[in-house]
């Protein structure tokens, strides 16, 4: 018990301790200040600009910045879409995996370009090594960099006075990849490869089973079969057409390099279908710690970067505090519910759920080496950040534990959220918060010494409501489409939860799943793809619009009457606004899914 509490606390402490220095480093890099790697990387950077004909000091207005984001994302989307469909005839495919169908390829391409990394495919069965490295790994880097770049355009919008320029998209993306993402990804991938995450270009291995398995003519496993030479008997009777299987497949591939960046860039698309629950993707408690801290490392750092770069460290700390309080609360609720497990699992005391010699609790869908503590922490982190990688199956969480993972996505992925996008999403909520506070006390709302006017409010509302609209419209329509019921793995309220989770995950650009849900159908692939596009690019356009408008304004003097946006009152107000929008939007849907499931459990 003591150990369990210690694990939860230390994970949070280590995360914050690493994020503070990294936050300062990222801030320096993005301002073009000198850092310890400058000597090596500045020449690389300049070389790239020369071949790209990029001017280092170019200042784009918000429209040009946004158009650059869309053009770059569009090219990524088309390339990845084609690569996946053609993988069957391309090299780098030792397993001879076929090309993806058009709808699966569309869904997967959208998923990776929008930094969602929802997986309607299963990596080891449906993606070639070439697709994994040249398609998915590349998007893990660049989609993360796009999110962070947009954040810096927004930061410049707040800090600059009476100008149009928000910096250069190309310079921002280049710096993020060269100075931040690649160095961190190299460290993490070598770290996890040392633990047993596979990293090879060789084809899959086959190994002998210690106990051969027997299957009937249809491929169903025969329990209690007795295998004697070539004959299979069950209860003394020979089974016709039974097949004896003596070997197991060991899937391989360049996993460590992909896994490192999918964690760091809040991407989350696993190399293998079951993501970081797979022992070859996350073999030990140490690899788990590296991967899990990587989920939130950059999103947390960016809060401190924000404070530093807007020259108001308290503002960064206040936003960090609001996010951290919500994260800790979510983690606590998930942990309590998973340790308590369910009456159905307790089986009237026949099953030991205690903490003695084991990690007691709801172990369905969880790996022994992680236990409840490291699984619940991961679940809280991955849904707070819009990462979406998993090390345990959220579909098998207790009703309330699973509900919290869903709720964190529904809140718009602003509890740290995706790299860059979590923070710019939260800034939109901060604008709503100062507006509401301003209304209450009858003052003109201000944020970071700039006036908030109707244009910014409209754009902030657009950014904040994109996710709820995408989720509710998407899951509402899906619930009416007859074929969707065939994709469910569980019945009743939990079945509805699977649909709701899928649209929440895509609408929050998260990518995790109640994975029993069979999402690879044309309707689901296309509709979830559209939800992802909407939830990614509408807020980007909206916050860049805010940045452009803010940059053109003058600073106003701070007076005694200025509402503080760094004190406890503001932190409380910010949390309140986030929860209010989330609760009002989603309570009815949650009541039909996880809450109904909960009452059935105890009833």
């Amino acid at each position: 018990m003591t150990n369990t509490v210690l694990q939860y606390a230390l994970y949070l402490v280590i995360l914050a301790a690493l994020a503070i220095p990294l936050g300062a480093y990222i801030g320096k890099v993005m301002n073009g200040e000198k850092v310890f790697m400058s000597r090596i990387l500045v020449p690389c950077e300049n070389f790239l600009y020369r071949i790209l004909h990029v001017k280092k000091d170019e200042e784009m207005n918000w429209k040009k910045y946004a158009v650059s984001v869309f053009a770059f994302s569009g090219i990524s989307l088309i390339f990845l879409f084609l690569l996946q469909m053609l993988q069957g005839v391309l090299p780098g495919n030792p397993e001879g995996i076929e090309g993806m169908s058009w709808h699966l390829s569309f869904n997967t391409a959208v998923s990776f370009v929008t930094n969602t990394n929802w997986q309607a495919y299963s990596g080891e069965a449906q993606a070639s090594y070439l697709t994994q490295a040249l398609g998915l790994t590349v998007q893990n880097f660049v989609s993360a960099a796009v999110g962070i770049a947009v954040l810096f355009a927004v930061i410049r919008g707040f800090t600059r006075v009476k100008t149009q320029g928000l910096g250069s998209f190309w310079v921002d993306v280049t710096r993020i990849i060269l100075y931040v993402l690649i160095p961190l990804a190299v460290i993490v991938s070598i770290g996890i490869a040392s633990q047993g995450v596979v990293q090879t270009l060789k084809p899959y291995e086959t190994v002998d089973l210690l106990e051969p398995a027997a299957v009937d003519a249809d491929g169903n496993i025969l329990e209690d079969a007795v295998i004697d030479g070539d004959t299979v008997t069950v209860d003394g009777k020979a089974v016709d057409g039974a097949q004896i299987i003596t070997q197991q497949v060991v899937p391989l591939g360049p996993a460590a390099s992909q896994v490192a960046i999918k964690q760091l860039g809040t991407n989350g698309g696993g190399f293998f279908g079951v993501n970081s629950a797979h022992p070859l993707e996350n073999p030990t408690p140490f690899s788990n710690m590296l991967e899990m801290l990587s989920i939130l490392l950059i999103p947390v750092s960016l809060c401190f970067t924000f404070g530093r770069n807007v020259k108001n460290k308290k503002q960064g700390a206040a936003i960090f505090a609001a996010m951290f309080i919500m994260l800790a609360a979510a983690l606590a609720i998930i942990a309590v519910n998973e340790h308590a497990a369910t009456p159905q699992l307790a089986a009237g005391g026949a099953v030991d759920l205690s903490q003695s010699g084991q990690s007691g609790g709801n172990m369905e869908g969880k790996e022994t080496r992680f236990g409840i503590a490291s699984s619940a922490t991961w679940a809280a982190f991955t849904t707070a950040a819009s990462n979406g990688s998993v090390n345990s199956m959220h579909d098998s969480y207790t009703p309330l534990g699973g509900m919290i993972t869903m709720l964190q996505m529904m809140l718009g992925e602003v509890i740290f959220g995706g790299v860059g996008c979590g923070l710019y999403g939260m800034l939109a909520f901060a604008i709503l918060a100062v507006f509401i506070a301003g209304l209450m006390v009858g003052r003109t709302p201000e944020f970071l010494e700039k006036k908030i006017e109707p244009y910014e409010m409209k754009m902030a509302v657009l950014a904040c409501l994109a996710t709820p609209i995408a989720i509710l419209a998407g899951s509402g329509i899906a619930a009416l489409v007859p074929g969707v019921a065939d994709s469910l793995n569980n019945s009743g309220a939990h079945g509805f939860s699977e649909v709701l989770y899928a649209y929440s995950s895509c609408g929050g650009n998260n990518g995790s799943a109640f994975a029993g849900f069979g999402a690879n159908t044309p309707f689901l692939n296309v509709s979830l793809g559209l939800v992802m596009l909407f939830a990614r690019f509408v807020p980007i356009a909206a916050v860049l619009g805010i940045a452009g408008s803010m940059a053109g304004k003058k600073k106003i003097a701070v007076t005694a009457g200025t509402l503080s946006t760094t004190n406890a009152m503001f932190i409380f107000l910010l949390i309140f606004v986030v929860l209010l929008v989330g609760a009002l939007s989603f309570f009815p849907a949650l009541a039909l899914g996880p809450i109904a499931d909960f009452f059935q459990m105890i009833g």
Binding site: V198, V249, T368, F370
Partner: protein
């Protein structure tokens, strides 16, 4: 639209360059480093004794023989992978079942009954939760120490060993927490079974 046309060629070149850097160069460097530094681990942590590959120490297998230690509940999948001769290969998947459902209650009851029947010496002692649940990957190679100890008497009597000898093997293939704090102590089931069969001796 004018801006879009102006930006597009640059976006294309930019995309190509970063595809080369992040997709090819980065993957190649990490592959080279991992192969040079940890080649066994980078290639699947395969246990090979006298030229025979007995499995990956990181992938669970299904054990039902009473002489062997049993692992997590598995959902075997034999339809996804075949070898070069068309022979089906074993893989596995998680259950993704709702642990609060009546269906699950029935499954757990079935599993506890089966385990109780194989361990009459344990009487009504509660069964460690690992033994009645399916893991997150479906391929969990480990069980908890409690789940291993629970089976020690049965394994000892079926192999004509003493419980102490079995416990010694369990201890040998138990890995503790990272730094004594993170994760959970686990027993590697394949290694225990290979040791019980006299295959793994070191």
């Amino acid at each position: 639209m004018k801006t879009f046309k102006e930006v597009l060629p640059r976006a294309a070149v930019f995309f190509l360059i970063f595809s080369a850097v992040c997709g090819i160069l980065y993957t190649a460097v990490i592959t080279g480093a991992a192969q040079a530094l940890f080649s066994d681990k980078a290639n699947g942590s395969i246990i090979e004794v006298n030229g025979k590959k007995y499995g990956s120490e990181l992938l669970g297998q299904q054990y039902t023989d009473e002489k062997h230690m049993w692992g997590r509940i598995m959902n075997i999948d034999t339809s996804t992978y075949i070898d070069d001769n068309g022979q089906a290969l074993v893989y596995a998947a998680p259950s993704n079942i709702n642990p609060a459902s009546a269906e699950y209650e029935a499954l757990v009851a079935e599993r506890t009954e089966k385990i109780r029947a194989a361990h009459p010496e344990k009487g009504g002692q509660p069964i460690p939760v690992d033994l009645v649940t399916c893991s997150g990957s479906g391929l969990d190679p480990h069980i908890s120490v409690a789940a291993a100890r629970y089976q020690a008497d049965r394994i000892a009597s079926r192999n004509n060993m003493t419980a102490d000898e079995v416990n010694e093997i369990i201890d040998k293939y138990t890995t503790g927490r990272f730094l004594g704090i993170f994760g959970e102590p686990v027993v590697n089931v394949l290694k225990v079974n290979l040791a019980l069969d006299g295959i793994l001796t070191d």
